[in-house]
């Protein structure tokens, strides 16, 4: 058992960067997949809808850990060495895409049908209706569940430690192995997660309020 040094703290802070970066990239990748899935789920073409549903069922119905393993070790099976960082980002993005796709599909379908019919009767077709009428209203409905999912995603990055990727949890484990101070180290790690996630929740509430006020001015 040894005392914590400044280097140890620096090591944890460095790991926080990786957690944040992985969260941001996974959310970005998930958003691209999610938008595609949401549009496919609300499309009139039956095949698109079925493909999107199959994708969602697959990723929501299997554990994230298993998905990360499949991406990481699946590369080896086809003769491609996948870096843990790439595997973590890809696995989390594909998983996030399924959840965000469903959240945003719900938000799009939460916009009253009459809004779309009104826009069509006033002279708009599908694409401008989506961008000028539906999505601005869907945004308001999507804020809370999207931020809720982002908070979960930040915490889910901890699973990347299984692949040997050093993010916050993995850094905590390594520090604990060196110092044997589990309560202090994992308490600090928990606090760091809280400090990352709590402001997101606050920001989400503020944004929701602001969007609601925009309707009432």
């Amino acid at each position: 058992m040894r005392t914590l040094t400044f280097t140890d703290i620096e090591f944890l802070v460095w790991a926080v960067r990786w957690t944040l970066l992985l969260s941001a990239l996974a959310f970005g990748g998930g958003a691209v997949v999610g938008i595609t899935i949401a549009f496919m789920r609300t499309a009139q073409h039956r095949l698109q809808r079925y493909l999107a549903i199959a994708y969602i069922r697959l990723f929501q119905g299997t554990p994230l850990l298993l998905q990360l393993f499949l991406v990481f070790f699946g590369g080896d099976m086809i003769g491609v060495a996948v870096d843990p960082w790439i595997a973590a980002m890809l696995g989390l993005s594909l998983n996030a895409g399924a959840f965000l796709g469903e959240i945003w599909r719900g938000a799009i379908q939460g916009v009253p049908k009459g809004q779309i019919e009104a826009a069509r009767s006033l002279g708009l077709h599908y694409v401008p209706i989506m961008f000028r009428v539906v999505l601005p209203q869907a945004l308001r409905l999507a804020v809370a569940p999207t931020v809720g999912f982002l908070v979960n995603l930040v915490k889910s990055t901890s699973l990347a430690s299984i692949l040997g990727f050093v993010e916050l949890i993995r850094a905590g484990q390594l520090l604990n192995n060196a110092t044997f101070r589990p309560f202090l180290i994992f308490g600090t790690v928990a606090l760091i997660y809280f400090v990352i996630c709590w402001p997101l929740t606050i920001a989400s509430r503020r944004l929701e309020k602001r969007l609601a006020q925009a309707y009432r001015r």
């Binding site: 809004q115 019919e117 009104a118 826009a119 009767s121 002279g123 309707y215 009432r216």
Partner: protein
């Protein structure tokens, strides 16, 4: 507002099926340019579906829609240039009143100066001049309704469709807006198709009314025609109150019928009735309560007993039991109308009404 020429509308054999269910079946209709026509019917009668097919928001299973003689078959809704006001107004909540009204003009890429001028004119037209910068959620139902009308009229469509637009308003406001709509129609000379399930609203607003039942048009005509010359028992029952009686047609004597008790009654001959099992119909205000000893004077009469009397100020509603006939009739008696003796519950009376006001329909 300079309107584009008001267009006539023709529906030819229009049908809409959802699988085996026929929501609309073989609707044929011609609406003249500048008319205000109401589609009247109960929920599920096909009136809104027909309206949505005209707008292009529903695709017909078969049939044709012609606007100003031009088929709308291959024209998508955003190119039909038809105005539409929805039941829940469907204003865009993120936009101000002015932005909502300007929206269809921006879509049509009109110059900014013209958009501003048209929006101002439209706001004045619906008496909302000072509301341009408000958002829909801050407006009352009546104000939202006016914004929806302004938005639908601002691009000067030849045809305006209104899907139960006053349904969410309270009675007094609804009547106020009905008057405004009628005035607006007179001023703009636009063809308006108005959907409602409220017969009073239809009577107040319409030049002509199409009564829908089970996906078909039961009758199309002026309010006066529909009330005084209903084509079927369904229309008669839908329009105003009606007293019905099961009767049997006399063979070889058109217009002569017998009630269940064998009482002979007369009606205007109706050559279209091929069946002997009929329904006789009389409007309550055509029926007078008479003493059983009164002279006949070329009227039909039935004996009954007063079940209920409700005083309504300028008139009383009298409910009369016709037990032998298996019917209960209501009559409207003007207050102060001469009656030999005051009416009371349980009193035996005769119901009398003019032969020419007696309608006969085939048993449904």
């Amino acid at each position: 507002m300079n309107r584009s020429a008001t267009a006539s509308l023709q529906l030819k054999g229009l049908s809409k099926h959802y699988g085996p269910v026929a929501a609309v079946e073989d609707v044929n209709l011609t609406i003249e340019g500048g008319e205000l026509v109401t589609f009247l019917g109960a929920s599920g009668s096909g009136k809104s579906t027909t309206l949505f097919m005209i707008a292009g928001l529903e695709a017909p299973t078969s049939g044709e829609i012609l606007l100003g003689g031009r088929s709308l078959q291959a024209i998508p809704p955003h190119r039909r240039n038809i105005g539409m006001v929805f039941q829940r107004y469907s204003l865009f909540p993120r936009m101000t009143v002015a932005e909502n009204i300007a929206f269809p003009l921006q879509v049509r890429r009109l110059p900014k100066a013209e958009i501003a001028a048209r929006v101002a004119r439209a706001l004045d037209l619906v008496q909302l001049g000072g509301m341009a910068d408000r958002r829909p959620m801050t407006l009352s139902g009546g104000q939202q309704q006016r914004v929806a009308v302004a938005r639908a009229l601002v691009y000067e469509p030849p045809l305006l469709l209104m899907d139960e637009p006053l349904g969410a308003l309270d009675k007094s406001l609804r009547e106020e807006i009905q008057v405004e709509l009628k005035e607006l129609h007179r001023r703009l000379d636009v063809t308006i198709l108005f959907v409602t399930h409220d017969q009073d609203e239809a009577l107040r607003l319409s030049d002509r009314i199409a009564v829908f039942g089970a996906g078909r048009i039961a009758q199309f005509g002026s309010p006066n025609e529909l009330y005084h010359q209903p084509a079927s028992r369904f229309v008669a029952g839908f329009f105003g109150n009606a007293n019905f009686l099961a009767v049997t047609g006399e063979v070889g004597a058109p217009g002569l019928v017998r009630s269940r008790t064998g009482c002979v009654l007369k009606a205007a001959p109706n050559g279209k009735l091929s069946t002997r099992s009929l329904r006789l119909m009389v409007r309550p205000h055509e029926v007078r309560v008479a003493a059983q000893t009164d002279a006949c004077n070329g009227e039909n009469r039935l004996a009954g007993e007063i079940r209920d009397l409700v005083f309504m100020g300028d008139h009383s509603v009298v409910t009369v039991d016709l037990p032998e006939e298996g019917a209960v009739w209501t009559t409207v008696q003007r207050s102060g109308s001469t009656s030999a003796s005051p009416l009371a519950r349980g009193m035996r009376v005769a119901l009398a009404w003019p032969i020419e006001r007696t309608h006969l329909f085939a048993e449904d």
